[in-house]
């Protein structure tokens, strides 16, 4: 293993040699033990990995995250259950009425009319 290959290994798998592939781990260990330059590279990589690990970490309250997720899921489940309780025929009926009202308004309402008010009237009438 050349120094260049060793350096690429450090960039690929990091300074913890236990994470290196089995077939090159022992070669890397030998290089660290016999080559002062490799040893120096490895020591620098270990310091760099420590810094990288700290920089990548996020401080948080794990229990707070879990509690928040569980509470949100409970709310979603309740909402989902309520949705399923609504009678499907009423939902279809409402959709049909709303669609028909909209189509009628589009055909009958003259240009420049107060479409918002008319639409409100049409939808209100459809719901009665």
């Amino acid at each position: 293993m050349t120094l260049q290959e060793f350096d690429t290994g450090l960039l690929t798998w990091g300074s913890n040699l236990d994470r290196w592939p089995d077939d090159i781990r022992s070669t890397a260990r030998r290089l660290i033990a016999t080559d002062p330059e490799a040893h120096s590279l490895w020591q620098e990589a270990a310091r760099f990995d420590t810094m990288l690990g700290t920089a990548s970490s996020v401080e948080m309250s794990e229990s707070a995250v879990v509690a928040k997720v569980q509470a949100a899921l409970e709310t979603r489940r309740e909402g989902s259950a309520l949705w399923h309780l609504l009678p499907i025929r009423q939902l279809i009926g409402f959709g049909t009425l709303a669609g028909a009202s909209g189509a009628a308004a589009a055909i009958l309402v003259p240009a420049g009319a107060n479409t918002g008010a008319l639409l409100t009237l049409a939808l209100g009438g459809g719901l009665q």
């Binding site: 690429t8 450090l10 960039l11 690929t12 798998w13 990091g14 994470r19 310091r47 760099f48 990995d49 810094m51 990288l52 690990g53 700290t54 920089a55 990548s56 970490s57 996020v58 401080e59 948080m60 794990e62 995250v65 879990v66 928040k68 997720v69 569980q70 949100a72 899921l73 979603r76 489940r77």
Partner: protein, 185 residues
């Protein structure tokens, strides 16, 4: 029902798919903080990370019965859902904060001088900033490798790319970050 190993994600997900609320809650306990950390370090705010993790587990709750043991490991599936949802979230907001998280774990060397502590804090801040500037895939690969201690093989499964491609991402990411690190020391 047979007793489930509380640390066996595959068994927990299978049981959740069969309707076990206890197994599902255990999955949330085990993985919600980790997925939250990935989203945050990727650049999401804490509030966005909350939403991402909730969405992931909502999907898991709804679709866990469809998960097949042997196709992909449960934890890989969870991370894949979280990573995809995180990328979508960042695309939607279009933000790329320089360093979204000011709070964070600090060095705990109580023997250090004030100057040393300040130096360490500055290095940490610069390093986080350097991580946040990495291209998306490199950033994800380095977060999964260093923060989550995933193997390159696992990262490849989560990102849906080859192990060789992951190695290239990590080499590029570490090279860039090492340059930043060397300029600080």
């Amino acid at each position: 029902m047979a007793r489930i190993d509380p640390d066996d994600d595959d068994a927990l997900l299978k049981a959740a798919g069969e309707g076990s609320q206890t197994a599902f809650n255990r999955l949330v306990q085990r993985h919600a903080p980790r997925l939250h950390a990935v989203a945050q370090r990727y650049g999401c705010t804490s509030a966005d990370a909350d939403e991402i993790v909730q969405d992931v587990f909502w999907r898991v709750w709804k679709h866990s019965s469809k998960w097949q043991p042997g196709a992909a490991r449960a934890s890989t599936w969870l991370y894949r859902l979280a990573v995809n949802r995180t990328i979508d979230s960042r695309r939607a907001t279009g933000r790329r904060p320089e360093d979204p998280i000011e709070e964070g774990q600090d060095f705990q060397d109580h023997t250090a001088t004030v100057e040393q502590v300040l130096d360490d804090q500055q290095q940490l801040k610069a390093m986080r900033s350097a991580i946040s500037r990495l291209p998306d895939r490199q950033r994800l690969a380095i977060i999964l490798s260093t923060q989550q201690e995933k193997s390159n093989f696992e990262i490849a499964e989560i990102l849906g790319i080859s192990e060789g491609a992951v190695e290239q991402l990590l080499v590029r990411a570490r090279r860039t970050l090492r340059e930043s690190y060397r300029s600080l020391t």
